[in-house]
Subunit: 332 residues, 2 copies
């Protein structure tokens, strides 16, 4: 992975799409009259919570894992706060391979339960005291397993990039051409893959990363033209987007292809989750809602423009969801 | 409406589909690996909460209202517990016609607010002491308005029937043929329209009505071969499905075309809403969840079968939704 890994291109995304056909869901491209009216533009929604495992992560995991020989005894290992865990577990299960997932002990209960539900062995670690890469590395060595990184892997990026390919093709089928695409950004694999596909299929489109405030390492790194980490101690309800800094491979792509980034607050995220409940009728988890939050909070002008936003997942505990859609009395 | 109204046929549904093109959402046909695994069959979901106004009702309302001359000053009048209200209000707004909606004072707040949000005038009545048809009839007379009935109207039935047409065409595009279709049933307009389309496009398909326990007038009427009302005093959380007895027109269709009916309890409905939250990532209101509830509760055997279920709406108050997905501590 470290040296001379070729960056994914449209060809590797097309190959990923061929592998994913029949295994992943081709999520629809939705449009909401209310969202159009609010923005003054046309805003399409790519609802990846409808993807297998409830988030886009199945795409990258399956693209990687489906290239492992079926009889591989060591199986796969991954570390993840949750959605990548479920994606890897389900992809391994689909291919008949054992999977061990290293997850933080404070990950949402629904994500841990679902990962186990896909047949994976879950090993919990302390997010603040242990190094998940070291825990996973030990497992790779002991078991002879293949490590499936959450974002800094060309096959994973290409798999996530099938979202961008679908947006381009589905928009074309509707007779529209997106000028702007916004997507959530953690380590940057999904938006990087999308940017590769979109740059090739919709030349001139502007692709923006959206991150939680305090975890806007990609936006700041893009501005600084070098990889910057986040200040320690920041918190966010977006458990899926807490990567410490941009990936090496993902930043090489994103520096070249992204138009910039936006950061959104927890309150803006909760408002977007409530909007999705009330108007879109979709269940969105905090990290999955940041691009929608950026649009609803007016971070960029969409009047007269055609845009697409990725809502990347819906794996959220009922309590977190209900706090967003029905704030306790006395709070707004 | 009363005498010799021709029953809707595939031609009137095709005409409705042409009117709805570009105005209504062609909702996708979704499939869930988890639901397939649970049932042992293939179960497709028609998610009408993604329809304009958050329920299928826009289809029938728009098909009716788009045939009213644009300059018609009296506008339209409707009575509805909520979803038809929103459908009529939005359809009238789209056509530039004034709308007055007669709604029960205890309808979900979100439905009343949304109806006003679509520009309609809302008149509240007491569900237990006033006759909504009489209130609406007076308005029709005073204002010279066109009454848009919630189900017992050939144009409304044909509009709702476009759901069945889409199921048939979308299934065909996926290379599958539904053997069984289940849909929620209140007055019977939606399932009647669907049955007309499906009988023509997928000969041999069995179409079942699903109703809340205590409001299973259609199932009992089908068994008795005559229209029966519900016993007074019954309650249900399915506010959208509280019709007192089958419609005249709808029962004439449904008696001929439906294979039967199922009834589901409030607990089965809440379990289906929670499942949709947790697995499907869709917001379903109680009345919209009855067909899914019937499948999850094992009311019919789907092992090895291909089925489609209509999830008809998602207009639910946060409190009701949260009680279903996160029961208060101490309850199951």
């Amino acid at each position: 992975m470290t040296r001379e890994t070729p960056l994914p291109d449209l060809g590797s995304i097309e190959a990923a799409a061929a592998r994913l056909a029949g295994a992943a869901v081709e999520t629809p491209l939705l449009e909401s009259g209310d969202l159009n009216a609010q923005t003054g533009g046309r805003v399409f929604i790519k609802p990846e919570m409808l993807q297998r495992t409830g988030s886009f992560k199945f795409r990258g995991a399956f693209n990687k894992i489906s290239q492992i020989p079926a009889g591989h005894k060591g199986g796969v290992v991954a570390f993840s706060s949750g959605n990548h865990a479920q994606g890897v577990a389900a992809a391994a299960q689909a291919r008949g391979l054992p999977a061990v997932i290293v997850m933080p002990a404070d990950a949402p209960a629904i994500k841990i339960a679902n990962t186990r539900g896909y047949g994976a062995e879950v090993i919990l670690y302390d997010r603040y005291r242990e190094d998940r890469e070291r825990v996973a590395g030990r497992l790779v060595e002991e078991r002879g397993a293949v490590l499936v990184r959450p974002y800094d892997d060309a096959d994973v990026i290409a798999g996530q990039g099938t979202i961008g390919r679908e947006i381009a093709r589905q928009a074309e089928a509707k007779g529209v051409r997106p000028e702007i695409v916004l997507a959530p950004c953690g380590g940057g694999g999904m938006i990087g893959g999308c940017a590769v596909a979109l740059a090739a299929l919709v030349p001139g489109v502007k692709v923006y990363a959206v991150e939680p405030a305090g975890f806007d390492d990609t936006a700041r790194s893009l501005a600084a033209h070098r990889r910057l980490g986040n200040a320690p101690g920041a918190t966010t309800i977006c458990d899926a987007l807490m990567a410490a800094m941009p990936g090496q491979l993902t930043f090489a792509i994103n520096e070249r292809l992204l138009a910039g980034g936006f950061a959104v607050s927890d309150d803006e995220v909760r408002a977007a989750m409530a909007y999705a409940f009330r108007v879109l009728k979709l269940v969105i988890e905090p990290g999955g809602a940041v691009a929608l939050a950026a649009v609803l909070a007016g971070k960029l002008h969409l009047r007269g423009r055609t845009a697409a936003i990725v809502c990347s997942g819906g794996n959220v505990d009922p309590a977190t969801f209900c706090t967003a859609i029905a704030p306790p009395v006395g709070e707004s």
